[in-house]
């Protein structure tokens, strides 16, 4: 067999072996995870970070999550153990993806990111105590209203 064919064969074997190692490890490689993988990571002791704003966090968050807004993540992650298992989420996944890239670039080795964010999460959510008002209100305005709730981010 020619030298080139040996190299190709060796690379193929290495690739297949790598795939088996990952599958056998039982856990996701650092990167995007789904809800089930997120829950397993949390059970395994991962530090769960909600990178939305404080107001968004107060409206509702995944139980056990710490709120570290994306705007403060760089500063607050100084001194963290870079080998720590970290899983991130935000509202829909864009901020947490940016947060994951930031932490990985700073040397954090095991950073995972919940795909779709809390919007796609179908597990329990801790929210604020609801305002005690009846669901039906007397007429408050002369016309109907559409509220758009948003944040500065």
């Amino acid at each position: 067999m020619s030298r080139t064919k040996w190299i190709v064969l060796a690379c193929t074997v290495a690739l297949i072996t790598g795939v088996f190692v990952v599958l056998a490890s039982g856990g996701p490689t650092p990167g995007v995870v789904d809800g089930d993988q997120f829950a397993r990571l949390q059970t395994d002791g991962a530090r769960v970070l909600d990178v939305r704003t404080e107001a968004e966090f107060a409206m509702g968050h995944i139980p056990g999550a710490e709120n570290v807004p994306l705007t403060r993540l760089a500063e607050e992650s100084e001194g963290w153990d870079p080998s720590a298992l970290i899983v991130l989420y935000c509202a829909t996944g864009s901020r947490s993806a940016e947060a994951a890239r930031m932490l990985s670039a700073r040397g954090f080795e095991s950073v995972h990111d919940l795909t779709g964010g809390i919007a796609a999460w179908d597990g329990p959510v801790e929210g604020p105590e609801q305002v005690a008002v009846p669901p039906e209100q007397p007429a408050l305005t002369a016309v109907p209203v559409m509220y758009e709730f948003y944040t500065d981010w």
């Binding site: 409206m59 919007a119 305002v131 008002v133 669901p135 016309v143 559409m146 758009e148 709730f149």
Partner: protein, 71 residues
């Protein structure tokens, strides 16, 4: 898009933007309507009843359908 709708529905529907980071009334209303993440659009009839809620980025057609359903 919302700015355009605001102009089109002026006089028919009040379209109000609520920045939840600002606290105050926005936070109070977010709690009342059980808003858990943003953006969320809440449609309230003139009698105060909630007609519809759209969570996340919304298509203009969906917003229009909800606006047209208000009474």
């Amino acid at each position: 898009m919302v700015d355009r709708l605001e102009k089109e529905y002026e006089g028919t529907v009040d379209i109000l933007k609520m920045n939840v980071d600002a606290g105050g009334e926005a936070a109070s209303l977010a709690s009342r309507y059980r808003v858990q993440y943003v953006p969320t659009f809440v449609f309230v009839n003139a009698d105060g009843t909630t007609a519809d809620t759209i969570v996340g980025e919304a298509k203009e057609s969906d917003l229009r359908d909800a606006l047209d359903g208000l009474r």
